[in-house]
C-alpha cells in the first residue's frame, strides 16, 4: 500500500526555468508534509515543509503547495539552478505517535545549462 506516490521518476528542466515536482497521497490523516533533496552517497536533506492546515509555504526559491481535496502537493523551484540537480522525495507524517515519515519513491531532477 503506497500511501505517498511520486509518479514521475525523472524530470529535466532548463536552467532558469521553473521546476515542478508532484506528489500524491492517499491517507487523509497526514498532518504535515515535507520535501527532501538527496545527492548521491549523502543522506536526505530537508528543504521545506507544510502543515495540513495551510495551502502554501514559501522559502526563497522553493514553494510548496498543498491541495487537500485532491490529496496532492507540489514543489516549485524558481529559478532552477544546476545545483538543484538531485533526487527529490516528498514525505508525510502524523503529529500523533511516532511521527515517522512515509516517503514517496523520489523524482530525479536534472537541470540543464
Amino acid at each position: 500500500d503506497q500511501q505517498v506516490k511520486q509518479n514521475s521518476p525523472s524530470l529535466s528542466v532548463q536552467e532558469g526555468r521553473i521546476s515542478i515536482l508532484n506528489c500524491d497521497y492517499t491517507n487523509s490523516m497526514f498532518d504535515y508534509f515535507l520535501w527532501y533533496k538527496k545527492y548521491p552517497a549523502e543522506g536526505p536533506t530537508f528543504l521545506i515543509s507544510i502543515s495540513s492546515i495551510k495551502d502554501k509555504n514559501e522559502d526563497g526559491r522553493f514553494t510548496v503547495f498543498l491541495n487537500k481535496s485532491a490529496k496532492h502537493l507540489s514543489l516549485h523551484i524558481v529559478p532552477s539552478q544546476p545545483g538543484d540537480s538531485a533526487v527529490y522525495f516528498c514525505a508525510a507524517g502524523r503529529i500523533q505517535g511516532a511521527q515517522k515519515l512515509v516517503f514517496g519513491q523520489g523524482t530525479r531532477l536534472t537541470i540543464n545549462p
Binding site: 504535515y32 543522506g43 530537508f46 515543509s49 505517535g97 511521527q99
Partner: protein, 115 residues
C-alpha cells in the same frame, strides 16, 4: 554543530553473518529513527526511539532485526543471519520531539551489501 553520523559507511558481509550498524544522532535530539532505502525507492521506516525506549518498531521486517539505544544517544541496528534481500542503504535520522516543522535530520547512511 555536528550532524548525524553513521558508521561504517559501507559494509559487505556474507549471507548468514551478523552485522551491527551505528548511529550518532545530533546532540540533544531525543527522537531517533532508522529507515531502510532500497534501490529506486524512498526510505522506509524501521524503528523509532524516544529516549532509550523503542516507542515504535512496527517497521522492522522480522525478528532478525533488532535495535538498541541504551543511553538515549547512540543507537545500534543489529541484523542477525543476514540475507541477500537485506542489502540496502540504512539511514538514521534524529529530531527534536514536537519540533515546529517535524523535520528529521538524516545521516549519510550505511550501504549494506550481503553476498
Amino acid at each position: 554543530g555536528a550532524g548525524v553520523s553513521q558508521t561504517p559507511s559501507n559494509k559487505v558481509t556474507e549471507k548468514g553473518k551478523y552485522v551491527e550498524l551505528r548511529c550518532d544522532p545530533i546532540s540533544g535530539h531525543t527522537a531517533l529513527y532508522w529507515y531502510r532505502q532500497s534501490l529506486g525507492q524512498g526510505p522506509e521506516f524501521l524503528i523509532y526511539f524516544q529516549g532509550t525506549g523503542a516507542a515504535d518498531d512496527s517497521g522492522l521486517p522480522n525478528d532478525r532485526f533488532f535495535a538498541v539505544r541504551p543511553e538515549g544517544s547512540v543507537s545500534t541496528l543489529k541484523i542477525q543471519r543476514t540475507e541477500r534481500g537485506d542489502s540496502a542503504v540504512y539511514l538514521c535520522a534524529s529530531s527534536h520531539t514536537g519540533g515546529v516543522s517535524y523535520e528529521q535530520y538524516f545521516g549519510p547512511g550505511t550501504r549494506l551489501t550481503v553476498t
